[in-house]
């Protein structure tokens, strides 16, 4: 039923195109996830800070991003965002830059992920037994040292379920960049299928690739989870 030679790596097979798209998807997901984590740590600390203005700002960011569909956000950030950046650069007297699709894509996924990881990390930081942070203060640790040595490691077991969920979402959100014409796996699949008219073959192959990524991630997540929660009997109960 399927002409599997179409999946071979060398032309006339489209295997190389699909693999290339798959690598792009993974790069996008990984880059966006990392940027999201950085934004998330900042956002969580901002939401828990004493400054009312900062708290409000972070809250507006997470509320707005989580209320708008990812597809719309991608259009907004991809088209309006790059245009606004270039206009700003022109006003400031710099030459306008041509932002590569990959960089813009990673940034877009990062901004979306940042809002969700802010919420996950905020919850996790709140779950740390308060005495631990107070002990760090009592030992005279500076806020940054407390963050690095106590808060971040101690919240990790609480944040892991949410964070692993976010990674799985990031891998699937990369598909949305196909709509703005970025050559990740879903768009590569559409092109291959449209050219060869062998639609089901290519879509099944792409689905299998995404599924492998998810299942492999689940395996790694289980290992990380086991390591991070070692000695914490409550977490598995």
């Amino acid at each position: 039923m399927f002409d599997l030679t179409l999946l071979s790596l060398s032309p006339p097979g489209w295997g190389a195109t699909l693999l290339c798209g798959f690598l792009n998807s993974v790069t996008l997901a990984a880059g966006g996830y990392l940027i999201g984590l950085v934004i998330g740590i900042g956002g969580a600390l901002g939401k828990l800070s004493d400054n009312a203005f900062l708290r409000e700002l972070c809250d507006i960011y997470t509320t707005a991003v989580r209320a708008v569909p990812e597809l719309v956000l991608i259009l907004v950030l991809y088209y309006a965002g790059t245009d606004a950046l270039n206009q700003l650069l022109t006003v400031l007297g710099f030459a306008s830059v041509d932002i590569s699709g990959l960089a813009a894509g990673i940034l877009v996924i990062g901004v979306v992920q940042g809002a969700y990881s802010t919420e996950v990390l905020r919850g996790a930081i709140l779950a740390i037994p308060h005495g631990q942070v107070e002990t760090a203060k009592a030992y005279g640790m500076s806020p940054l040292l407390t963050l690095r040595r106590v808060t971040l490691p101690a919240m990790l077991p609480f944040a892991l379920p949410g964070l692993s969920n976010l990674w799985l979402i990031a891998t699937k959100d990369t598909a949305l960049l196909a709509v703005v014409g970025f050559g990740e796996l879903t768009l590569a699949t559409k092109q291959a299928a449209g050219t060869t008219k062998d639609y089901l073959l290519f879509y099944t192959a792409a689905a299998a690739m995404y599924l492998c990524l998810t299942l492999l991630s689940n395996l790694v997540i289980k290992l990380i989870d086991r390591r991070a929660t070692r000695g914490l009997a409550v977490m598995h109960a």
Binding site: A67, Y116, L176
Partner: protein, 268 residues
Amino acid sequence: MLSTNTLPAVSSGPTVRSVKPFAPIRYALVIAIVCLAVYFGRWDWIGDYWMRLANGIGVTLLLLVSSCVLGFALALPLGVVQATGPRLLAWPARAFCTVIRGTPLLLQLWMLYYGLGAVFAQFPEIRASIFWPVLRTAWPYGLVALVLSFAGYAGEIMRGAFAGVPKGELEAAYTFGMNRRTAFFRIWLPRAVQRALPTLTGETILQLKSTPLVATVTVIDVFAVISKVRQDTYLTYEPLILLASLYIILTITLTRLLRIFEARAIRR
């Protein structure tokens, strides 16, 4: 997409404050954005498009409601067979949920529309059948993709909910002389739905945010109308600002409605 993970409730100390909206800043910002957008933006196109926009919002809401209702109806058997069913049924249900949750919705949608659509077109029997006028249009594929996606995620939620109903409650039902059918409809199902309700309402909001994907297969929802505006007017900012605002309003309204519904359902 995002299922809520319950974090273990650990005492959180005395100095923790909840994030309360600091109202003055929020309202000032909203008013400022609206004023700036109205003053600097070009909005003359709204006159030509407002009918289509209203139609598009209707299509979006219709897709949301129908896909959630149908998807939930499909999720119930998926959850039941995974929680207790015979292995012959549990395994395919589990595989279905894994595949749906493991692949992007956009890929599923395109697979149905381009893939299955092309397969259908190859068979003269289907082309000659009375269903063809419907099958040539895009919306059945969009609706089916949304329904399957919701069923996949909600099925996983319901599996946990069915398995989480305390055994004692079911045993009590049997002791009262209920047969399996009565016990299922009077005790097991209502208790499972009650437990899963907060997660299910969250899933409904995520579903609203998935609906614009159907615009990529030419279903004319509100996202597609705005895309048309962007093509016709070459405006970068205004249509996208309007679209984002519309979705924010829809999401906030839906969240409020679901919260009221949830409070009522749990009180009962």
